[in-house]
Amino acid sequence: MFNKILVANRGEIALRVIRACRESGIKCVAVYSEADEASLHLKLADEQICIGPAISSKSYLNIESIINAAGQTGAEAIHPGYGYLAEKEEFAQACADNNIVFIGPTPENLKLAGDKITAKKIMEEAGVPVIPSSPGGVISLDEAVGLCAEVGYPVMVKASGGGGGRGIRICKDENVLREDFPIAKAEAAAAFGNDELYIEKFVQEPRHIEFQILADRFGNVAHLGERECTIQRRYQKLIEESPSPRLTPELRTAMGDAAIRAGNAVNYFNAGTVEFLLDKNDNFYFMEVNARIQVEHPITELTTGVDLVKEQIRLAADGKLDFSFEDLPKRGWAIECRINAEDPDRNFLPSPGVVEKYQPPGGYGVRLDTHLYQGYELPIFYDSLIAKLVSFDLTRDGAISIMRRALDEFIISPLKTTIPLYRKIMDDSSFQKGDFHTGYINKFVPDEDEDED
């Protein structure tokens, strides 16, 4: 086991890793930027080292500076948290080159996770379902009609050269495809200078279900059940829960097996998440592998009894994975609300400033992962995630009641936060019934386009 670990992150995840180290008797080094001198993670670590100016590119993303900090403090391993350098192949490689253990996947895993087209191909070969699509660009309408008959309607037609959701058309049948294909082609040519189109099966009102996996250096891969992450805004997750109210035991087994196959197919190492889209007819499709510990990991910890961060450390120190999902003492239901310093009434505009009043919730069934304290000034330079509030009970209804009560107790002022939005969602009957899809949040907040002034 390691004697000293450097935590290459800030905020709540730095605290999470530092706490795991302290519980394990491992010394830990906190790194910080000049804007983070008053951050809580510095107070809980054994050593603190400044790695650069406020702007992340010069501090938390500065590979050389972090590697030097590990060298100076004699840290044997680096935990990258999530975000920042967590999925940078170059950073994992730099650790290896300097004889520092990177607590995370291998550089090869990170490279593949970032290459979605190759990853999809490997998954398909390994028998993991992927979204049916055209093998490459589609030029002619006849070709498109033939392909769509195979893939099945509705289909999504998009510009091969496009991005950011532009130039996408949904065609519900062949008639619409015949009408829209030439228009999409013209639009693609005008917008991207390339009229090649790409066709993919359109998954209607999908749910976003992901599976936690762990893998050791000896080829053992286990999954730790699913997380329901359907409630999102602009691809940012807001509320997660485990288990998913949507999965039957059979579907859980099928998706869990697919997640393990996915891990095996890429020789995955350490903690990771396999993301799937699930349609109304129980078809699920591989989306991507998130090669890191995830923000929403606590809900898996509460329902499986596995401390994922300690597992990451143990596996990085050549520990062996000696359990499967069936062996875990699974119980209860956990829900996480990501509390952001954003104003849900003003298009989620960020809300930095000083936390003048801070009153955290507590009591039975409440876990709070946060770096806030009264008097803390939220820097403008970093993410708006300020707290992860997690409730746990034996039933989903129980977990909702605890979350509702905890949100009522939680005071963070004068900053604007997403607490009032979550409070409304907890009272919503669709949420309570577990009946939602990825467009659910539009029921509460308009999906405004910032460009429409």
């Binding site: 406020a54 702007i55 310093a341 954003e342 989620f348 505009l349 960020p350 930095p352 939220l378 403008i380 330079f381 970093y382 993410d383 708006s384 910032e450 460009d451 002034d453």
Partner: protein, 84 residues
């Protein structure tokens, strides 16, 4: 239409001021440029969210106050524009 009236553009909230859309691209505007109402003058990044700083009037850039990539406080002066 030039009447010499000056308009100040101030930061709507604290954030990091960027004059370019990306490090390898030219600045949105330079001093002396003629600008139109709603034209993007700069970006302001607050907690990883980028807001477009838009020009409130038709006119000409007289002054660009902050250096690019510097943090601004709420209401700091960013641009002075001559209305015209």
């Amino acid at each position: 239409m030039a009447n010499g009236k000056k308009v100040e553009v101030r930061a709507p909230m604290s954030g990091v001021f960027y004059r370019r859309p990306a490090p390898d691209q030219p600045p949105y505007v330079e001093v002396g440029d003629t600008v139109n109402k709603k034209q993007v003058l700069a970006l302001l990044e607050t907690m990883k969210v980028f807001q477009k700083v838009k020009c409130p009037v038709n006119g000409k850039i007289l002054e660009i106050v902050p250096q690019s990539e510097t943090p601004l406080k709420d209401d700091d002066l960013m641009f002075i524009i001559e209305v015209g």
